[in-house]
Symmetry: C2
Subunit: 255 residues, 2 copies
């Protein structure tokens, strides 16, 4: 018996999320099904991040135990042959039998993509959220600074969050813009804004509520300094709305 770690990329559009749900198609369920069939064993993957319905990943992590004699770093090629086009394995390697991807401390990186445009672009429809009003990126960057560091993020988590401590640490928030497909000299004022957030753990809906709040700052609904009050208030109602799932991608997890 050996424990294999998977790094998984997926397009979450057609899944109910990572976690198995009755009568729905989940990433976890699809992996269990395909890996069990291929290795001819009953396989149960343990995921690092239970991404929500519609959220994507470039590097979610999972482990499973197997008796297979296929070399650990080759398992990915075998699996990718049978996995659907919207789930692919980027890496497989053996880890210690005691390694549990949710029990070990980690650093997670998320990216949220905003299409800031007067027109919805077909090419961006699966992986970004469209905002019609022009966003002031400098103000968003200023607001993001107030979020960095260790804080109680109660205001930035779903009221359904069931954890004792809501203290988390955000290492950095980067906000970059580029034209979609780098539309040089196109004259068309659409742009893709990428918000990248790195932290030691995220509460339920935390990234999406942070993004919803940064959008409010970007359109001028309130000043960047309001973040200080929102954090201090420890009340979900003070923050902005939860930005749609489809704009969010779990980029990677470092252990």
């Amino acid at each position: 018996m050996k424990r294999i770690m998977l790094k998984i990329a997926y397009d979450g559009t057609n899944y109910c999320g990572w976690q198995i749900q009755p009568n729905q198609t989940s990433v976890e369920g699809k992996l269990n099904e395909v890996i069990s069939k291929l290795l001819n064993e009953e396989i149960t993957v343990i995921g690092a991040s239970r991404t929500d319905s519609g959220v994507h990943a470039l590097g979610n992590v999972a482990v499973f135990d197997t008796k297979t004699i296929i070399p650990s770093n080759k398992i990915m090629y075998v699996l990718n042959q049978k996995l659907p086009d919207d789930i692919k394995i980027k890496e497989t390697h053996e880890v210690d039998k005691s390694f549990h991807p949710r029990a070990v401390k980690s650093i997670k990186t998320y990216e949220y993509r905003i299409l800031n445009s007067k027109v919805f672009l077909p090419q961006e429809r699966y992986f970004s959220h469209m905002v019609y009003k022009r966003l002031d990126i400098d103000k968003m960057k200023k607001a993001a600074e107030y979020l960095c560091g260790e804080h109680d993020f109660t205001s930035f988590s779903s009221i359904k969050t069931e954890v004792k401590s809501k203290v988390r640490k955000i290492y950095k928030i980067e906000i970059d813009e580029c034209g979609p497909y780098e539309m040089k000299n196109d004259g068309y004022e659409s742009r893709l804004i990428k918000i990248r957030i790195v932290g030691n753990g995220f509460l339920y809906n935390m990234v999406r509520i942070i993004v919803g709040t940064l959008i409010n700052v970007g359109i001028g609904s309130y000043p960047p300094e309001r973040i200080v009050e929102i954090l201090a208030g420890k009340n979900r109602k003070l923050a902005g709305s939860t930005a749609p799932a489809k704009g969010l991608t779990l980029i990677g997890i470092e252990y």
Copy 2:
């Protein structure tokens, strides 16, 4: 009666191409259907570029004649309400009644996206072509230099091409690489290579054959200098294969 110019973005995945074909869904046909219904007139669009099946556009151009009283620059918003998610209008404005988008000289820009990776990435599956072998971008850039300028591109056009002169001018070819979603510090060696080609006109399949040939150079099948012979030979068999449609996007057309 006034003539309206449209700038159109589309995801070509689910279309038989721009041009109307019997029993298939075309971009041209879908535009005629939706615009006719909305304006309550029989509308026939005239397209600038008849993109192939599976090819995408960020800025194809078309014109149509209408009696509508809707202000020209507002027509786009009305149309976008009814167009499917994979076809959207980026701009509408009135042009001279004599303007024909294929009769007037223009400069076209295309972008071809290559996912150079050992693993197929779900996020890139609609808009890029995957190449497994590591590509030598410096060699590809050198080969591209030989293609720039005015040449007879017979070797780089489909044998089905039915035009008298196969002389065209390429103004520039830019080759850039980036990680998908700018995968900083991911350690995963996949990259997206974007080949942008600007020219005064392109023969049938010309961009895709140029890309297929640049890929051959990139994987080391032949040296960059071979381009000179391929051009001089005026024979389609000398060039590389036609790269798949899905990697190609018509970025824009300037008049």
